[in-house]
């Protein structure tokens, strides 16, 4: 029986490997996801064959979780996707924390009954601490990220005096409590120490994400994703279960790769993203831009667009906020009908999660061929008649290329300022999300169109249709 279970776990692991591999290619991604879900179903079903399970609770728990997950996945809007992914991620982390705790509770309970004094070995104790630590940070960190993404908590980075010292103190407390617990997991002091690790890990998750600004969210989300895998992996060590270790480790590795891709796209190190409190200070550094923003009316913008042959659209978080993706798609259609080439240039860190803009534009049915990456559009951007920047800021800020004093200096950007004309759709005159001035807005070839992005784009579409 045990052999059957373990063989099935191997099969599940193979399905996960193929599933993740196929998720990395556009034409096989959906099938890959299905294959990995079959692996998951297999792993769960054979686990149900284990001896002595309390079936009422097990099946009840699975039923409750399935219904909640089903409803959440069905009802979510594509614009709400970053929040939901963060929330699911947090649940996974908390589950791993609880598994670690439950295993210790079980083992120590036996110890109290005098059955097996040395039941909790040092190694098991250490991995219990790890599962609880990583799981706890993942849980509250993801919850805080969820709050930021859904706008329930301010998106800006939040810093306070002595924050780094405070976080270091939390980390130190976790290490001390964790070591005391690990060295004597059956001593009287062990349980309070374990509870201390739980509380401190939960706090650390909150205070670690707090100082990270909204623009850095793609990095945070993918890092937390990696952590949820590692937490499952640690839980696997606790119960000596191969399939947890393999699956958790695969997720940990893929999340880390995504994190690195995001960091590279901003030309910053992970350490810098996590600890710099980027975006907390508004306009502290960087040269103040000279020149004025030149507003243009929707009507005048229409005349320029009407004469254009080559247009790129550069979407950012503002497009998600305004839910303008459907209007933007329509604008693309009317422009094409007007014999104009339309492309959508997508920066890797545009939006609040990796691939955010792709998801939104896919929802609006923008043809895949029209989506181009930064590196493909930059070399020929001088040929572009009009670049329409919709709610993007840092990813088109020329300071990243030519102002060494700017905090985002060195970040690769889409060179919208080199297009013949640039329209910037913006809600107001204020600085962007990160609090940085953007020289693009005052460039000689830039025109500002103020107002809600959706209303503006719909207005342009109406102009085309009326003519």
């Amino acid at each position: 029986m045990e052999n059957l279970v373990n063989l099935s776990y191997i099969a599940a692991a193979i399905l996960f490997v193929f599933g993740i591999k196929m998720l990395g290619h556009a034409d096989t991604a959906r099938k890959g996801n299905q294959i990995s879900s079959i692996g998951m179903a297999l792993a769960i079903i054979v686990t149900l064959l284990s001896q002595g399970l309390d079936y009422k609770l097990v099946l009840g728990g699975i039923a409750v979780g399935s219904v909640i997950g089903f409803i959440a996945a069905k009802r979510v809007q594509m614009t709400g996707m970053p929040e939901l992914v963060a929330l699911f991620n947090g649940f996974g982390g908390l589950a791993s924390l609880l598994v670690g705790w439950a295993e210790y509770q079980r083992a120590s309970h036996t110890t109290l009954a005098g059955l097996d004094i040395a039941k909790v070995e040092t190694f098991t104790a250490a991995v219990i601490v790890l599962a609880i630590l990583i799981g706890g940070i993942t849980f509250t960190g993801s919850l805080y990220a969820w709050g930021k993404l859904s706008g329930k908590l301010g998106g800006r980075a939040l810093t306070f005096g002595g924050q780094k010292a405070f976080n270091a103190l939390l980390a130190l407390g976790i290490i001390v409590a964790g070591v005391i617990f690990t060295l004597a997991p059956t001593a009287e002091l062990a349980y309070p120490m374990l509870l201390a690790v739980i509380v401190l890990a939960l706090l650390l998750g909150i205070f670690a994400v707090m100082p990270i600004g909204g623009g850095d969210m793609p990095v945070v989300i993918s890092l937390l994703n990696s952590c949820s895998g590692l937490a499952a992996c640690a839980a696997g060590f606790v119960i000596a279960n191969n399939v947890l270790i393999v699956a958790g480790c695969l997720v940990g590795a893929s999340g880390l790769i995504l994190t690195i891709i995001m960091c590279k796209a901003m030309n910053r190190t992970l350490v810098n993203v996590l600890f710099s409190g980027f975006g907390a200070t508004s306009q502290a550094t960087g040269s103040a831009s000279t020149g004025e923003m030149k507003p243009v009316s929707v009507e005048d913008a229409y005349y320029i667009l009407e004469a254009a042959f080559n247009v790129i659209v550069i979407p950012g978080y503002g497009m998600a906020v305004a839910q303008a993706q459907h209007a933007v798609k329509e604008l693309g259609e009317v422009l094409e009908a007007n014999d104009c080439e339309v492309r959508f240039a997508i920066h890797p860190v545009a939006g609040r999660m990796p691939g955010h803009m792709n998801v939104l534009l896919a929802e609006a049915d923008v043809p895949y061929e029209q989506l181009v990456e930064m590196d493909d559009v930059n070399p020929t951007i001088e040929m572009v008649d009009v670049a329409i920047v919709i709610g993007a800021n840092d990813v088109v800020n020329p300071a990243a290329a030519d102002d060494p004093a700017s905090p985002i200096y060195g970040m690769p950007i889409i060179n919208a300022h080199k297009a013949k004309t640039t329209f910037c759709l913006k809600r107001g005159k204020g600085a962007g999300f990160s609090g940085l001035e953007n020289a693009l807005f005052t460039a000689p070839n830039s025109r500002m169109i103020y107002g809600d992005a959706k209303a503006t784009v719909s207005g342009l579409v109406a102009q085309f249709k009326d003519s």
């Binding site: 998720l23 996801n33 979780g65 909640i68």
Partner: protein, 93 residues
Amino acid sequence: MEIILLLFIFVLSGFLGFELIAKVPSQLHTPLMSGSNAISGITVVGAILAVNTSSDNLSVWLGFAAIVLATINVVGGYMVTDRMLGMFKKKGK
């Protein structure tokens, strides 16, 4: 010895994970993330094993809560990913 074996598996799957998805088109970043996020719900296996009739009350309820949370992660994660990838698919037309 068992510990060494587990660590062995851990190290190898780590390397495998890094090799699996070296280059991912940015279009797939979100699905990859939510799809792998669903896989991290594998911790549900550990949660199920904790809800054992030989366990004491507290660990059973901890395990039960873990089952609910992990299942939300698994079911929701796979379904959301499938929905997203379904939208990507339509472009082929």
